[in-house]
Amino acid sequence: MADLPVQIAGIGMKNPVLVASGTFGYGAEYRPVFDVSRLGALVTKGLTLKPCAGNPAPRLWETPAGLLNAIGLQNPGVDVFISDILPVMRSYGVPVIANIAGFTGEEFVALAERLDGSGVDGLELNISCPNVKAGGMALGADPCLAASVVAAVVRATSLPVIVKLTPNVTDIAGLAREVVAAGAAALSLINTLLGLAIDVDAGKPALGNVTGGLSGPAIRPVAVRAVWQVAQSVDVPIIGMGGICTGRDALEFILAGASAVAVGSALFHDPLAAVKVIKELERYCERKEIGDWRSLIGAAWKRGNSLAGEVR
């Protein structure tokens, strides 16, 4: 099989297929279904400083080719994560990226400090969660605020800092530039789209939290567009995500400029989706006799440079 190695923010991975934060728990949950050490890296559910009970139920609502969720960052807190969960995650022999969510800039810094030296391989800053009232999207949609948090976290940790962006903004490329200037070593995009559904029978919003985040195949064209725009605006690697279900979907992101991809909601449709994506990418590279798969990154605009100008 073709080799698909990649380095993201200095983290070496044997292939560019990750899982999206919050859809894969802490890895152990999927172990009965497939060998999670097949993945390029594991990304944790969003961690907060204190244990977090999350939002009231219902937290899920199916939509056409998609899913609205409003989990609200339920997690046992960073300390329990470090003591009880991380050792298990590390035993899989795959890099572990901790997704962290502060309700303030200071909390982001405190989380980063706590995780420094803990054994995680990198941080993913979730400044884009639509399901919490403080921090999250409010913070991540304002380029100045976002940049200041990123700068503070970068100062506070020796770990590589990946910043996860929200698509719920007018200008995602501008936001990306600010965040990279502030020191982000890589970007993850996209987080969920802000959505809402009404339960017509009940006559009220379907989710306990009223609004939720839309994910799944439905949002893929928005995610590919974001990757396309941002990849042409910054020089750091991008982890692309949003509705990736197949190797072909992953290739869309890679050709648009992603150096790695993450499989999220697709796992709910097909729990083997992530391994299938890996296999399909391997097979594609073999069939096309591609020497270094990384030549595919951004090929859709690098090849025909006339295209590249049209979108910015």
């Binding site: 999927y30 199916e62 997690n75 909601s265 449709h269």
Partner: protein
């Protein structure tokens, strides 16, 4: 749970039991070997990405010899509608067995099974298993009308069956909760097992607390992963600061572990 996996199964038999209730039997040898009463599976429902999520269905019956697993389901929306169109020989994807099933404890080995509507689904597998363990069981089945009483003759093989209907067209007139109260006053049980609509579960939970008899409830919540990973299917735990996952911590809970709303 070590045999939990993603399987591509084939439809062996698909029976229409009433207007909107179906019994689907799948060839699924590993699942049949691993499944325990009260567990469930997530079934792929649809050919494209819409519907997107799998549907959770309780394991209704297991035929170890033939390696088949049956589900009893009511057509509710688009997912179950699609499922109902599957014919013999066609493929169905399935993730399972999932969750924590029923537990069998108690020194008297006397159990009361309470269900209404489609809630009978997981209890048939339970009844069969309890009989194998020499339990004495009483099964209460409620429904709106006679037609809604499902699997009566199946249950009769395993114990005493009592029925109630809202309109009195079968068994006692009234809800299964009334029936439950009556039965309860007369006999004593080591365990109550319940599956059905929220009001039934709330009543059982209440009675269990009042009388000090442990009850196990099979809960439902909207699910995405079914594996405990997404935190989507929560219900209020007894400790109010803790939300429990129906798919992984349940779907069967001791009545004392959860706080039901409604």
């Amino acid at each position: 749970m070590s045999k939990t996996g993603e399987y591509s199964t084939r439809v062996v038999e698909h029976l229409v039991l009433s207007r909107d209730v179906f019994r689907l039997t799948l060839e699924a040898t590993k699942l049949a070997a691993a499944a325990r009463p009260g567990q469930f599976a997530m079934l792929g429902c649809g050919s494209g990405f819409d519907p997107f999520l799998r549907r959770p269905l309780s394991i209704h019956r297991v035929q170890g010899v033939s390696g088949t697993v049956s589900f009893l389901y009511r057509v509710r929306g688009r997912g179950t509608e699609w499922l109902a169109s599957r014919r013999q020989g066609e493929a169905v994807s399935l993730l399972g067995p999932l969750g924590r099933g029923f537990r069998y404890e108690g020194n008297s080995k006397r159990a009361l099974l309470v269900s209404a509507g489609i809630g009978v689904a997981p209890l048939l597998f339970l009844a069969e298993t309890l009989m194998g363990l020499n339990w004495t069981i009483t099964i209460l089945i409620g429904a709106r009308t006679r037609k809604g009483i499902l699997c009566r003759s199946d249950f009769e093989r395993y114990g005493r069956v009592l029925v109630s209907t809202d309109d009195g067209s079968a068994g006692r007139r009234g809800s299964v909760v009334d029936l439950l109260r009556k039965v309860f006053d007369k006999d004593s049980y080591a365990q109550i097992y319940a599956c059905g609509p929220q009001p039934v579960l709330v009543a059982v939970s209440q009675l269990s607390a009042d009388k000090g008899i442990p009850a196990q409830l099979s809960l439902e919540e909207r699910m995405a992963c079914g594996l405990g990973a997404c935190m989507g299917c929560v219900c209020q735990g007894a400790d109010p600061s803790r939300m429990v996952r129906v798919c992984a911590d349940g779907p069967v809970f001791d009545a004392s572990e959860v706080i039901l709303n409604g």
